[in-house]
Amino acid sequence: MSDIIISLDKVKKVYFLDTVEVDALKDISLDINAGDFVSIAGPSGSGKTTILNLIGCVDKPTSGAVIVHGKRTSDLNDDSLTELRHRSIGFIFQTFNLIPVLNIRENVELPLLLDSQTGNEHKADRKEWVDYLIESVGLKERMLHKPAELSGGQRQRVAIARALVMKPAIVLADEPTANLDSATGESILRLMRHMNETFGTTFIFSTHDPDIVEEADHIIRLRDGRIVEDRRIHGETSVGFAVGATGTEGGQL
């Protein structure tokens, strides 16, 4: 067993394109356990990104319940959703989405700097933790460079470090390898798996690459807004550092 960290119950999401209703998700129900390495697979338009948006609390369902880390997202206001994203969810974007004006170190540290509860007393611990993450993703030598000076793969490594810096319970990755060549994509996937195993962080990534899908231990396949497969391969996964903890002590890779 593992604790269920994400639960979708009869979730429906309808978009309106002008006057046309588009059913992006149709009565989706699923559970994701803490520490899972989950892939959401399916062709374009199948609803992968919509599910990630709902789990990531950047969107709300038209009907049904999305429960993340014990909280029903439709009951939360904007500030509470922001707080939930900040503390419990890390994001890895297909296009990396690093802040161009900040260097690598600052980009990784950014979520910590947005935390008004992080005082100066933890500054030394914070620095150590950020340095550790950057070293873990192999970018120690480039930590003072700007994102524009890095390759795609390096940028995605920075994004992974940034996603983990708050020690979130969940990391969402929307097609993290789509903009990378296959070798770099594989190395990114290995890094994500490594982080998943090291910290016990729940990783949920979307992809339409069949090889990458099979790397996950929980595979969810979508088609036309419906789940066509929900399969666990490796059984339960272990949990590393405290789920949702925001302390500054890092685990070991």
Binding site: V58, D59, R85, P100, L102, D174
Partner: protein, 486 residues
């Protein structure tokens, strides 16, 4: 502080837009700073010149509907300005206040000068007690030739240098101290009045413009004669009992009952009550009337640091109580067209600035909106990874504030350099109008701290105003935008 860090970085990343907005702000500050400093220099110079040399801070004038300059120019009327009937009450009221430094009664009008039958020219004249005048304006008059008159000297005149030069142009022999000249004025109430006066000296006004430099000082009694007011040169008039009764118990309606029997009486002399009875040729009892000397103006200087606006208000209220219709006005009204023009120019400049500000704000707003739209994914990402709306709002506000600070510093520095250069070389007045406005032939602008602060606050307000709508646009960006890709 992360909002400030992001804002600073964004300014560098979007250099062209930052430069464009910065240049608009910098130019705005430069124009505001320069313009306000020039106007303030001219206005403060004008104020100093008039207050310390001609008008005082405030003045009471005889009853009139219109503002009247100290030169006796009454807007909309050709009448001689009437005297202040109860000037003593004003003097007592002002003497009782702690914020009044001194007062000066004054007469003013335009006269012609001549020698014998020959008319030599026209000029403005102040009728004054010379000692009081010199005490009231201690630094503005210098005796160039001759001597200061004593009150016992009889009719005297102190000609200004330009007036002397004007008279000497046409005079057959040089006009100089000791020369007797003829002064003529058209007093409405008494027809044409001619007086012979002795030139006691030649004076120079230390702060003046072309018009003011030509003012002539004449003894108050001669000026009263010229303006048609009662003169006290020969002492108070002796009135017969019938005359005294007429003056003290004057009923205008009686004029119509006995149209040709009335007596004109002295215009402008305030007669109050009857004094000791005297014998006269007639069998009736005569009286010496208590006559208050006629003055058209009572100039007031306030003490240093005192609030002249408050005194203006209190004095106006007091004048209302007296109820004679006297006018209380500030130095600007007393200075007339020149000062009003300067004030109008400042108002016009402020209006122009306000109009330009609206246009500039619109331009800046557009540039900022474009900038926000170019950063949709960046702002969406910030929101997705946990930035609350206030972080986004602060980021935009910091960007505007940084720009205002940098552009403001550059604009102020450029303005400072220009003002220092202009202060050294001066701006030469191109014509008489500007000469009057500048208070001289050359305006040497001074650096005004107030103008600098006002310019900066204007720009900051414009910057913040311009960022208002872009901030709203930025705050509407939802975190889901980050998921859509760059």
């Amino acid at each position: 502080m992360i909002a400030a860090r992001l804002a600073w970085g964004n300014l560098g990343l979007h250099r062209r837009k930052s430069l464009l907005i910065g240049m608009i702000m910098g130019m705005g500050i430069l124009i505001l700073f320069l313009g306000n400093s020039l106007i303030e220099t001219a206005l403060s110079g004008l104020q100093r010149m008039f207050v310390q040399g001609y008008t005082g801070d405030l003045m009471v004038t005889g009853p009139t509907e219109f503002s009247t300059t100290v030169l006796g120019e009454t807007a909309g009327s050709e009448e001689v300005l009437p005297h202040i009937a109860q000037i003593k009450k004003y003097e007592d009221f002002l003497a009782s206040r702690g914020d009044v430094a001194s007062t000066l009664p004054l007469l003013s009008g335009q006269v012609s000068f001549g020698i014998g039958e020959t008319e030599l020219g026209f000029g403005y004249c102040f009728g004054v007690n010379v000692d009081d005048y010199r005490n009231f304006f201690p630094d503005n008059v210098t005796l160039v030739n001759g001597e200061w008159p004593a009150e016992s000297n009889g009719p005297w005149v102190l000609l200004s240098e330009p007036t002397l030069a004007l008279l000497n142009k046409s005079a057959s022999s040089p006009v100089q101290p000791g020369t007797k000249i003829i002064m003529t004025a058209l007093a409405n109430s008494a027809g044409t009045v001619i007086r012979e006066v002795t030139v006691k000296g030649v004076i120079k006004f230390n702060q003046s413009n072309q018009q003011l430099a030509g003012i002539t000082l004449v003894d108050a009694d001669t000026m009263r004669d010229l303006l048609g007011f009662a003169s006290l040169r020969d002492g108070a008039p002796v009135l017969s009992g019938q005359e005294a009764a007429f003056v003290t118990g004057f009923d205008p309606d009686s004029l119509f009952n006995d149209l040709f029997a009335g007596s004109g009486g002295a215009t402008g002399a305030a007669v109050s009550g009857a004094a000791a009875p005297e014998q006269s040729a007639s069998t009736q009892t005569s009286v010496v009337a208590e006559v208050v000397p006629a003055w058209q103006f009572l100039l007031v200087r306030v003490k240093s640091g005192a609030n002249s606006s408050r005194l203006l208000s209190d004095l106006s209220a007091f004048s209302e109580q007296i109820g004679d219709g006297d006018r209380v006005q500030d130095w600007i009204a007393g200075a007339g067209k020149v000062a009003r023009t300067a004030v109008t120019i400042r108002l016009a400049f402020d209006l122009l600035v306000a109009v330009v500000a609206v246009v500039v704000v619109m331009i800046m707003m557009n540039v900022l909106i474009i900038s926000v739209n170019e950063r949709l994914y960046e702002i969406g990402t910030l929101r997705a990874i946990g930035a609350k709306r206030r972080v986004v709002r602060n980021m935009i506000l910091y960007e505007t504030t940084f720009l205002a600070l940098i552009a403001g510093a550059a604009g102020l520095l450029a303005g400072l350099v220009l003002l220092l250069i202009l202060g050294k070389i001066g701006i030469r007045a191109p014509n008489l109008f500007f000469e009057a406005l500048f208070g001289g032939q050359v305006l040497k602008p001074t650096v005004s701290g107030g103008a600098a602060i006002r310019a900066f606050l204007w720009i900051l307000a414009m910057g913040l105003g311009a960022s208002w709508y872009p901030t709203i646009v930025a705050l509407r960006i939802e975190p889901v935008v980050a998921m859509r890709g760059d």
